[in-house]
């Protein structure tokens, strides 16, 4: 099945999300769709899978013009989407999730699971997915859950699969396995649209690449003939420098000391299991690991947001195990939360309000009981400028900024004061290349000024680019440690450690 997008334009009010897009999706091929966040990738794919109807242009399937009134019609036409955020019922089995919405029922409304189970097994075998139809979703690792999403789409007999940022949740090994699956789908004649902003992956997997910027296709090409810098330039619109500039590693005294730290998850399970490590001034310690191995709980415990069950956290010699978040803030500990939307920002608040979210309570922003908004606005404008937060004014709601600008706002708030230690969780997740480079630069500047940094990221490349020392977390423990400045580190080794292999 060959799908053609012809001259698609999609507007939201005055905002043009896609402008005159032409794209052909060929059976048996992987089309890599590359673009920064906010470039219009998702909108385009939502047009294709029937969630939005385009203002102009048309979709053709095998030369026939089609119109989808909703996702249901697109699925019936053979176009299925695997969303970045899985849409699975955690307490249901694989087979139950697969038939959700199209439940085959027999007499007396009896649910017929038998056919679904055998069909899941068949699809699983055919494409090498290795999924047990009777497994409960919440017991499965994310990588397998993703395959369930793929089975869902295959079960609905899709010929075109749209994969939206599919590798975001996977370990390097899982990514390799995932690529195997994508290739076997291609061999079976399926057409794949692979959406990503990661250059390496798109070069690895695609048969053809289309780059989208500001809603328009700015280039298409053959991955064998394209180089990384060219693609990046196409995507961003200007040349990109990939290397993180770093001064020589000059570690100072120990600033943060963690001793036998144990922290629980909300449900009482052990999240951080008796770990100890130290961070020195002027040192970046990177925590690598697949999401969900205790990194979030570790960060929250260090920021004073999660109770420490046992063990001790010392900052510059003082015991801060029981200190409140505000006390830690006063000591010069900055915290860039993992989830900027949920924890880093208040979307309905203005840029200025967000800029003082953790410093509003003291001079110069307030004296006595009231806040000096005049001062807040002037300072916020200056800091926004300094940190390249692109906003029409400081009175704009944070929710109206792009992801990159939102994150730069959080980074600006946290780093624009006198800091001594920086805790950063997924500091560049989902951001565009330009914002990533900017944020990396700022983090390295903090290091070079003598701050200690603890960076948690599920992007191994990011950990490797920034860290002076790398710790790998698996099931709440530190299972491996690397010092790149002593000896070169092999990415594959770290990947194995992330997956729990003994090193």
């Amino acid at each position: 099945m060959r799908v053609e997008l012809r001259n698609i334009t999609k507007r939201f009010g005055p905002v043009v999300a896609n402008k005159g897009v032409n794209l052909t999706i060929e059976p048996g091929q992987v089309l890599g769709l590359l673009g920064e966040n906010g470039a219009g990738k998702s909108t385009l794919m939502n047009v294709l899978c029937g969630l939005y109807s385009p203002n102009e242009g048309e979709i053709q399937i095998d030369g026939q013009s089609v119109r989808f009134a909703g996702p249901g019609e697109a699925i019936r036409a053979g176009i299925g989407m695997v969303h970045q955020h899985f849409m699975l019922v955690p307490v249901f089995t694989v087979a139950e999730n697969v038939i959700l919405g199209i439940e085959p029922v027999g007499r007396f409304d009896h649910l017929d699971l038998t056919t679904a189970r055998s069909e899941v097994s068949r699809l699983s075998a055919e494409y090498g997915l290795a999924v047990d139809p009777d497994a409960i979703i919440e017991t499965l690792p994310v990588g397998i859950q993703q395959r369930v999403e793929i089975i869902k789409v295959l079960f609905r007999e899709a010929d075109v699969l749209i994969l939206d940022e599919p590798t975001a949740v996977l370990t390097p090994q899982e990514v390799d396995e995932f690529f195997q699956i994508v290739r076997s789908l291609c061999e079976a004649g399926k057409a794949i649209v692979f959406i990503t902003h990661k250059l390496n992956e798109i070069l690895d997997i695609s048969d053809r690449i289309a780059v989208i910027r500001r809603g328009e296709i700015v280039g298409t090409g053959d991955p064998k003939k394209l180089a990384r810098p060219d693609l990046a330039e196409m995507m961003v619109g200007h040349p990109v420098d990939f290397d993180v500039a770093r001064a020589p590693f000059v570690p100072g005294d120990v600033i943060l000391g963690i001793q036998d730290l144990t922290v629980l998850r909300d449900d009482g399970a052990v999240a951080v299991d008796d770990i100890s490590f130290q961070v020195r001034s002027g040192e970046v310690v990177g925590i690598a690991g697949v999401q969900g191995n205790g990194q979030s709980a570790l960060i929250e415990a260090l920021a004073g947001l999660r109770r420490v069950v046992s063990g001790q956290v010392r900052f510059d010699g003082t015991d801060i195990t029981q200190a409140s978040p505000r006390e830690r803030h006063r000591l010069g500990i900055a915290h860039i939360p993992e989830d900027r939307q949920r924890a880093g920002l208040i979307g309905t608040f203005t840029v200025a309000e967000n800029m003082v979210l953790d410093s509003y309570y003291a001079p110069p922003y307030s004296a006595g009981t009231s806040i000096d908004w005049g001062r807040v606005h002037t300072d916020a404008a200056a800091v926004a400028e300094q940190y390249d937060v692109r906003t029409p004014s400081v009175h704009t709601s944070a929710a109206h900024l792009s992801g990159g600008n939102q994150q730069k706002l959080v980074v600006a708030r946290e780093l624009s004061r006198d800091t001594r230690f920086v805790i950063a969780g997924q500091p560049t997740r989902g951001l565009d290349v330009g914002s990533i480079a900017f944020i990396h630069e700022r983090l390295m500047a903090a290091r070079d000024e003598g701050d200690g940094l603890l960076i948690v990221s599920s992007e191994l490349d990011e950990i490797m680019a920034l860290s002076d020392r790398i710790l790998v977390m698996f099931k709440g423990r530190i299972v491996a440690e690397y010092a790149p400045h002593d000896a070169p580190v092999d990415k594959g080794d770290i990947g194995l450690a992330m997956a729990g292999a003994r090193v």
Binding site: L305, F349, I371, W373, P392, H400
Partner: protein, 374 residues
């Protein structure tokens, strides 16, 4: 730079949609409610002439004379006061259903304090009585706040229960010797001495005009609530916690303290609303003197979009409906319950802006700007 112009346009359109939200939607909601109210009257066998007469009476009774305006404002004051408290709570993410109980406790405490301070000059007795109402209301609401902060007990449940307790507590206290009027067997409090009364303001025009000094108190509270919400540190914490409790906690704000303070301040305002009634209108406390003010105030706070100025206007509207409704009953013989129906319909329409926009499409910008996906 086209990026920037996009944002600028967006900003302006947002301004427009704010106006729609705050002014046009409520206005059309009122119109729609009045129309549907007429339909209800037709359905219950009221003839068209009477319907016409009742709406004329509604207008006359609310704004048609000095007396009407005085009645409208008198009815509006406690609604605005209690509504302000609820609005603060809503902003802090607390759905406080307990204004009714706080009005009861505050109103009663004001009477008790007023009686106790009856021998002192008015400059002490009156503020003392109001303060007693505020403190008692704050304490009563603070219970629910503390339960929420310390144990996680949801404030909707605990405040509803505290309302029920307050009614029975009132019945009981009104029969205790300290409070009950001498020589009476029924539950009724001693009368508020003159020094503790909120003086009537328009008696020079007509001794029957009931508008009292509570209006100054109310306007002062509107200003105070505005300052608190948008200028003070505490208000910043309230709004942050209400909009995104996780981010507020991550920014170092103390969630428990915020909850207790927001509830206490809401209770203080509801307590002042109760004091406003007992000291300004009723002159004593009787069973059921709160007359559902605390519940109507929820509607007022919602209609006013939890904004102090919005609450002021919404309270006046509800006061007008109440005063006009009484006139409607007298002139046209239409049940006052119809006013309850119209008030409820307004809220339903406010809560369903899309419905209002569908009913009056020409009142709104056609091209709806949705946030574009990435």
């Amino acid at each position: 730079m086209s990026d920037m112009t996009d944002h600028a346009t967006k900003g302006r359109l947002l301004g427009r949609s704010k106006v729609e939200d705050l002014v046009i939607v409520p206005l059309f909601a009122l119109v729609a409610a009045l129309i549907l109210g007429a339909v209800v009257m037709v359905a219950t066998g009221v003839d068209l002439a009477t319907i016409g007469r009742s709406y004329v009476a509604l207008l006359q009774g609310s704004v048609g004379s000095v007396n009407a305006i005085s009645e409208t404002l008198t009815a509006a004051l406690p609604l605005v006061l209690a509504g302000l408290g609820l609005a603060l709570g809503f902003r802090a993410g607390l759905f406080n259903i307990g204004a009714e109980g706080q009005v009861v406790m505050g109103g009663l405490a004001a009477v008790v304090a007023g009686v106790a301070l009856g021998d002192l000059p008015a400059v002490i007795a009156l503020p003392g009585a109001i303060l007693a109402g505020a403190v008692t209301g704050a304490f009563y609401a603070g219970i629910a706040g503390w339960l929420r902060a310390a144990t996680g007990a949801h404030e909707v449940i605990s405040t509803i229960m505290l309302n029920l307790i307050s009614y029975r507590l009132l019945d009981y206290l009104l029969r205790t010797p300290l409070i009950q009027k001498e020589g009476r067997a029924d539950p009724i409090s001693k009368s508020v001495p003159e020094v503790a009364e909120l003086p009537r303001l328009l008696t020079f025009l007509d001794p029957n005009l009931r508008l009292h000094a509570g209006i100054f108190l109310t306007l002062a509270m509107v200003a105070l609530a505005y300052w608190l919400l948008f200028r003070s540190k505490l208000g910043f914490e309230f709004r942050a916690s209400g909009e995104n409790a996780v981010a507020a906690r991550f920014a170092g704000m103390n969630a428990s303290l915020t909850i207790v303070l927001a509830m206490a301040i809401a209770g203080a305002l509801a307590g002042i609303a109760g004091a406003n009634q007992t000291l300004g209108v009723l002159g004593r406390a009787t069973p059921g003197f709160s007359a559902g003010i605390g519940f109507d105030a929820i509607a007022v706070a919602l209609l006013g979009r939890s904004h102090p100025v919005g609450v002021l206007f919404a309270g006046v509207l509800f006061g007008a409906l109440e005063a006009g409704g009484r006139q409607m009953q007298v002139d046209a013989g239409v049940s006052i319950d119809l006013i309850g129906i119209i008030q409820s319909l307004i809220i339903v329409f406010i809560a369903a802006p899309l419905l209002v926009k569908a009913l009056f499409p020409w009142g709104f910008r056609r091209d709806q700007t949705k946030e574009g996906g990435s």
